[in-house]
């Protein structure tokens, strides 16, 4: 309901802006036709009019942008609420169950396992949120050290295989020549882990993910993470790296998330003098994410 209301108000402001501009132009053209002799006044009037029109246009643009941002912010709050409260609800439910009911040994183990899963998920969400604050703050200094990207990727893959219970075949690694970058280990690791986690999450039931590293012109090392999952509409490829952004419609709501992972990837890439982008043939046709970072010799 809120979203529909916003759409209406966006349409209203655009219409209002366009309407006002056309009225002003009409008045002005009429006035010029009637009083074309008053030359200097005319010139001044043109300047004033141009200022007013650009003011109205700018106002409309900023208003629409602000409404969009609010919309995303609401979606973010909902997603964060869900991602933080649901694991707590599960853990609490299991603890209460263990406290109040007779639970046999197998079930008890199952419950412990579920609680560990949920606390991992909670921790991951919290880390993601805290990291967003850090990578977004220009003041936060990078703790630079030479890093072998291949080693970081191996580490992240091992972690992802255990976390998502996938085999090394489903989550395969094709390492290129070893490359050393200068970076903040914690941040680079977070960016790589986010890309791998996303690839697994958006693969649906059948995980077939390939991770490759390769050198580009001897200056950069590119990490390519490819999946055969849900894919991304072409028009969304640029937007998905924005903070809080989630692809609208059924497409993304099938997979839960807070909309921060790719923002972190792009911010980390930028802070390290590199870049990050996505490639996809469209929905249902998988996608490839590339993280490119400069090599140090």
């Amino acid at each position: 309901m809120v979203v529909a209301g916003r759409r209406k108000s966006i349409a209203f402001f655009i219409a209002l802006g366009a309407g006002l501009i056309s009225v002003i132009i009409l008045l002005y053209v009429g006035w010029v036709l009637l009083n074309w002799r008053s030359g200097i006044l005319l010139f001044l009037g043109v300047m004033l009019l141009a200022t007013i029109i650009s003011g109205v246009i700018l106002n409309t643009i900023f208003l629409v942008r602000e409404i969009r941002r609010n919309e995303q912010h609401d979606a973010f709050i909902n997603a964060v609420t869900h991602e933080l409260k649901t694991p707590v609800a599960s853990i609490r439910l299991f603890l209460e169950t263990l406290q109040t009911r007779a639970v046999d040994e197998t079930k008890r183990k199952e419950f412990y396992h579920a609680m560990l899963d949920e606390s991992d998920r909670l921790l991951a969400s919290i880390e993601q949120i805290l990291r967003t604050g850090r990578v977004g703050a220009a003041a936060h200094k990078l703790n630079l050290s030479p890093i072998n990207l291949g080693v970081v990727v191996e580490e992240c893959l091992t972690r992802a295989r255990t976390l998502h219970h996938v085999s090394p075949e489903s989550l395969a690694y094709h390492p290129g020549p070893s490359a050393t970058i200068m970076g903040d280990l914690d941040e680079v690791r977070a960016a790589v882990a986010n890309l791998i986690d996303n690839a697994v999450k958006y693969s649906g039931g059948d995980v077939k993910v390939t991770v490759e590293t390769a050198q580009v012109d001897g200056k950069y090392v590119a990490l390519r993470v490819s999946d055969h999952g849900v894919g991304i509409p072409k028009t969304e490829l640029k937007h998905i790296f924005k903070r809080f952004y989630r692809v609208p419609g059924q497409f993304a709501t099938r997979v839960k998330g807070i909309g921060l992972g790719l923002y972190i990837v792009r911010s980390v890439a930028k802070r390290h003098g590199g870049r990050a982008w996505a490639e996809s043939e469209g929905p249902g046709r998988g996608s490839t994410f590339v993280l490119q970072l400069p090599i140090v010799k």
Partner: protein, 252 residues
């Protein structure tokens, strides 16, 4: 045994809920999407007594599921269980037709007490509907079961068993179907307006969409009419509502 349907896509939470509700003696079913829930709930006579509905579901969300259920004339007591505790969300849930709303994280005892409350309310309603004398409600939670039945032609409605018998065949009726039929039979021969039915059977006093009633009539005609397209017992009174006629030959 009371049957609970859990609509929840969080696997761990659903498992935990299932374990506890089964321990409380309920029969529990779990579905993960709104679409799957609607398919179950909008079936002819769903074998479900109470629904626990999450909001943030993949595909159709809980609010949509809730309002689609109610618009289709399904009034199974439903508790919305969700992380969204903002007053706007709570109001949205009740507007969609929820009977109760609980936010995550929740206390297990409270959840179970609320489910019991919903079931108890349903049983009281059932008892009141079955008690034709409108005697004051008894102080026990057990449903009152008067042996009442109504026979017309070769058909008989057994309100106590929620069953319609035609010749040798038996058709199960839902509680609401039976209540609608009972109300029409009580006013046999007289036209009954849709508004009256909404007030008396559903207990609603507002301008609710009356299409739900028409859906019930269509279903009832399928049971009791030999040719549902040419009804002889359940007649439409244009501009008013419906009229039940027990013996069409005498009436005409």
């Amino acid at each position: 045994m009371n049957r609970v349907l859990i609509v929840e896509d969080e696997r761990h939470l659903a498992d935990g809920l299932r374990f506890n509700l089964e321990a409380e003696g309920y029969q529990v079913g779990v579905v993960e999407t709104g679409e799957a829930a609607l398919e179950l709930l909008l079936a002819e006579s769903p074998a479900i007594d109470v629904v626990i509905l999450d909001v943030m579901l993949p595909g159709k969300d809980g609010f949509t599921v809730m309002s689609e259920m109610r618009h289709a004339g399904n009034f199974i007591p439903t508790l919305m269980l969700t992380a969204r505790g903002h007053p706007d969300d709570v109001l949205k849930g009740f507007e969609a037709g929820a009977d109760d709303y609980l936010t995550k994280p929740f206390e297990l005892d409270i959840l179970i007490a609320r489910i019991r409350g919903l079931l108890r309310r349903r049983e009281w309603l059932y008892a009141a509907m079955n008690n034709t004398n409108n005697a004051p409600a008894s102080h026990t939670t057990a449903p009152v079961e008067p042996k009442d039945a109504f026979t017309f032609g070769d058909k008989s409605v057994h309100f106590d068993l929620l069953e319609l018998r035609v010749g040798g065949q038996k058709f199960p009726l839902t509680l609401m179907e039976a209540n609608v039929l009972r109300y029409l039979i009580q006013h046999e021969g007289k036209p009954v307006s849709r508004k009256m039915m909404l007030e008396q059977v559903w207990g609603l006093h507002e301008d609710t969409d009356t299409r739900a009633i028409d859906n019930f009539i269509v279903r009832l005609r399928r049971y009791i009419e030999d040719d549902p397209t040419r009804p002889r017992h359940l007649l439409t009174v244009r501009g008013v509502g419906y009229r039940f006629v027990a013996s069409p030959a005498q009436a005409s």
